[in-house]
Symmetry: C2
Amino acid sequence: MKDPQHELLVDIRKQIVLHDVSTVSELSKITHVSFPTVKKMIDDMIEYGEVIEHGQHAPKGGRPAKSYRYNSTFRHCLTLYIEANEIHYRLIDCQNQIAEEGVSFVTGTHLETLGTLVDAFDQHTIKLGAISVGVAAAVDRGRIVFAPEYPSLAHLDLKNWLMDRTGLPVVIENDMNAAVYGFSKRDETSTHQSIVYLGLGKNGPGAGILVDGHVVRGQSGFSGEVSFLPLYDHASFYDRIKNKSYGPNVLKEEEIDAMGRLVATFAATLNPHAFIFSDVDLVLEDLPHINRACERYLPSRHIPVLHIGEWEEDYFSGLARLGIELMLETIQRGGV
Amino acid sequence: MKDPQHELLVDIRKQIVLHDVSTVSELSKITHVSFPTVKKMIDDMIEYGEVIEHGQHAPKGGRPAKSYRYNSTFRHCLTLYIEANEIHYRLIDCQNQIAEEGVSFVTGTHLETLGTLVDAFDQHTIKLGAISVGVAAAVDRGRIVFAPEYPSLAHLDLKNWLMDRTGLPVVIENDMNAAVYGFSKRDETSTHQSIVYLGLGKNGPGAGILVDGHVVRGQSGFSGEVSFLPLYDHASFYDRIKNKSYGPNVLKEEEIDAMGRLVATFAATLNPHAFIFSDVDLVLEDLPHINRACERYLPSRHIPVLHIGEWEEDYFSGLARLGIELMLETIQRGGV
DNA sequence: ATGACTTATTAAAATATTTTAAAAAGTAGA
DNA sequence: TCTACTTTTTAAAATATTTTAATAAGTCAT
């Protein structure tokens, strides 16, 4: 199962695609593998069209290095997320450039709609390398364990179902987890940070939690279920925000306090770098108020940075990242 | 810096010492390195006395395998923790067997006392491989960043100070982090779990947090500072437990509720497998009451398992594990 | 323009690792 | 006991990787 050559191949791919490393000697340093070995691998990849020579790298003193780039049309990735009545999808290349996007309306069950959608891409001229799926449900290793929005998916091993149907590698992720992961991958600095992403959602609030860059899943799939937090003598977090008017707007004082307490709760436990609210729920103007509310409970230097995230973009970014990583890990030598 | 041979050596050591793997073919499978390569390494280790041939492994069908064990007198590890007025220490072998233990009373500053203590082991006949230190302070990569109990250590890079003084590898860890790590390493099943370890302490409560087996440190060293949790309209967690009588005893109703809310807070955020209270603070009888209090806030299947930990043993176990791991990672080939 | 310096690439030699095949050492059943 | 089977160990051959040295291609200062 563990093939060191394949691991090196994947490592090189990821460095080229995900971190813009483009010369052999840089790759050699980063992967801790010698120059000749990396070069041989790159030559192979060029031979079957996975990598393309791209000219010169900006020289810094000596002989300029040849620069290589990944062939972004080599494989594409299908990313999609499932909502109550629609499935949003994007066909992207390995750089997250959109080749095609659209919405499929759910007719019949969610499963049927999903099936016909992915079947359409089998005929497609573009070659797929992976499928990445987001759901508003609890997921355990590709299996849907709790799905209030879509009964046809409940308790289904969606990952294997899709893998059998398409023959492609598949990753399934919860919506909040995908969003927080996507947010964290926007810039390199936040990649290994701890971040909380809050969405108020139609079925009650939920949070995606990242600790040192890793998604927290919890013992029983209950992580991030912040509704239940006992923040008041006789009221939970949910009690104080359940009447919030739908859509992005300025919060009421009571809601501000609840948000401040929520942020304080995370600060005094995980002490994360950043706390993200969604643009579907809040406006920028709310943040200083929440920060001030939080300062009532603990010293301000321990309060995470507050942000407004772009929900759909973050969600799609997370799915894209998960799908692309999976794709880069699973392409075999020679592109088989 | 990255030497694949050394990595294999460390991997083999850890498997033998930490996971009781004793035959070459098992090692070969686990490390994904071929039989001849592992065998060569083992032969080397036998040559300079790090590993000893130990007879036959119980055969299961074919030719019985030779069995090897680690020479537990090869190197020892000094573990110690610093309190307000004393330093407790244990000299252990790689199996955490105690060779010597004792208490040093603090005379002068903590730093002076620590210095004379470690100097004593330089003369010792037993060869040291690492030093592991626990402190009731916030630690950032070996540096003491906040230390209410010992002014002489404040802002000191204790790790480098000790490394310079002794020439040995050193690890410094916060007390709660060490304890939760030690608890998690007691049995293999909990190694990759998420666990919270609460201590009420003299300087207010604090928690050590493990997520999927990794210690959570936080953005500003504030992780686990549960004192500040806003759990009531006008009171924090600390407000409700600050008057608790010292020592292990049966909690009052008000304290029970605070503990229940604390557990619920973690359940609705990290959703950990276990929540550990210390035998210094609580008695076994308190646990069902806390569990019932927690059930007021969320469904019982999401509540972590509640335990009473043995504080000093867990603390020392964590230090031992950290020290032994460090020792196994840093011994050079040939035992130099 | 020339020479000193820097970095990248190529080629060859030296190491290290894996694979394959054969031998050794046991068990279990006829 | 003999044979078939299993697993470990050893030995030899085949691969893969790194190291070393040589060469190529640039910059920069004079």
